[in-house]
């Protein structure tokens, strides 16, 4: 432990050590990527900063992505770390306009982890793969000493074939409509409530789901789709800011269009959280050229994972790089990315 020196008032640096904020999907996470990873690993694929990398192999265009899963608790209402590890990766492929095909599956397990829990997770992975129509084709398992990993960590890497070209943040332009496939905040609240410490009780279940189904509906609807992005850690605010920044456009969203389930609202009110910052695992945004939005919404609504789809905003040439919210009372304010870990507040 560092020596306690109460008389030294020098400002400290938050970046000397990795903190939970670096994994929360907000500004510190983005800085880790832009200031450490990209400069060291520079290449044309990485610099696009999209959910997956798209490249050619022979006559095919493939999409390739990876994701790691560390969720606690590992079992939560509506899913578990296993189903999440399938959905997370297939969804990143879907956001590239790619049909997910195959996954690799890698476990890092802490000594002492219950075999029954592992079996339950594997069964869940199996079910999720069937649902998503993908196969686990290769894998790896490591076991570490007690205390070196928190139960279990999973990494999945996925490959898919690109069936729709040109889906990327760089294709977004002014006039595009922003369509959301359903109500937000479910996953983050379900997980937060399932953790010890807050003692909340709710029937909120994670929205974790494979999204190629509804994505394909949008892509086949006849609307011109410029970009797709799923809203995971950091919530809607993160995704919208990332796109505004990557595409150098302004984004305007309307508070009264964004569906938030009552129990999620209740939990957010109690904890002092904003639903725009809460994680989702089955929600994505479609950026659709003007004129095609109705077709896209109708197509989404024909799928079980898009029943509540609606337009929530539009892309503009004003306030480029910023996301602006029109509030319920008619005011306007800028929506920033989360500045770190999402903490409940009492004040």
């Amino acid at each position: 432990m560092a020596e306690f020196n109460p008389l030294c008032p020098t400002p400290f640096s938050t970046d000397a050590k990795i903190t939970l904020a670096h994994g929360s999907g907000g500004i510190p996470s983005a800085e880790l990527v832009s200031k450490l990873f990209v400069p060291a690993l520079k290449n044309k694929y990485l610099e696009l900063l999209h959910d997956g990398a798209v490249f050619e192999l022979g006559n095919s265009r493939l999409a390739f992505t990876t994701d790691s899963f560390v969720v606690k608790p590992i079992f939560f209402p509506g899913g578990d770390i296993g189903s999440l590890s399938v959905h997370g990766t297939v969804n990143d492929l879907a956001m590239c306009g790619a049909r997910p095909l195959m996954l690799s599956l890698s476990f890092i397990i802490e000594e002492g982890f219950l075999m029954a829990d592992l079996a339950r997770i594997v069964k869940s992975i199996s079910n999720a793969c069937k649902d998503a129509d993908v196969m686990v084709v290769t894998g790896d398992t490591k076991v570490v000493e007690k205390g070196s990993a928190d139960g279990i960590f999973i990494n999945t890497t996925g490959v898919g074939t690109v069936e729709y070209e040109g889906i990327s943040p760089k294709a977004v332009r002014s006039g595009d409509n922003i369509i959301l496939n359903g109500a937000i905040g479910l996953h983050g609240i379900a997980v937060m409530v399932a953790r010890e410490g807050l003692n909340l009780e709710t029937n909120v279940e994670s929205d974790s789901a494979p999204l190629w189904g509804p994505v394909e509906k949008v892509l086949k609807s006849g609307a011109e789709v410029h970009c797709l992005r799923d809203a995971t850690r950091g919530g809607l605010s993160s995704v919208l800011n990332e796109i505004a920044s990557a595409a150098n456009v302004g984004i305007e969203i309307w508070e009264d269009s964004i569906p938030v389930p009552e129990p999620v609202r209740g939990a957010c009110e109690i904890l002092g959280l904003d639903p725009l910052y809460i994680a989702n695992e089955g929600r994505f945004l479609s950026f659709v050229a003007s004129g095609g939005e109705d077709r896209a919404v109708d197509a989404l609504r024909s799928h079980p994972l898009g029943r509540d789809a609606r337009k929530i905003g539009r892309v503009t040439n004003d306030h480029k790089g910023s996301v602006v919210l029109r509030t319920n009372i008619g005011g306007r304010r800028v929506v920033l990315m989360a500045s770190g870990e999402l903490l409940p507040r009492i004040c």
Binding site: V193, N199, E201, T202, P263, E269, I270, R345, I346, C347
Partner: protein, 75 residues
């Protein structure tokens, strides 16, 4: 300061610590809440909760004050 959230009392019982406790429903999310600071609260009442404690019972009549005033001034 002081996030206070209105919720509906759905259950009342004394807990293991000997405190009057209740379950309060906030739009479908429920929390165990200490009712010890309200001397007359029934199931079905609406209360204002701060950090797990009900600090007041919502007065349904006074809840309309802001709207009544608008009517009085003809707006």
């Amino acid at each position: 300061m002081c996030l206070g959230v209105p919720g509906k009392v759905v259950k009342i019982e004394d807990n293991a610590l000997g405190l009057r406790m209740g379950v309060v429903d906030f739009g479908g999310t429920k929390r165990e809440t200490c009712l010890a600071y309200l001397d007359d609260v029934q199931e079905g009442d609406w209360v204002l909760v701060h950090i797990g404690f009900a600090i007041s019972k919502i007065d349904e009549e006074k809840a309309k004050d802001a709207f009544d005033t608008l009517k009085e001034i003809g707006l």
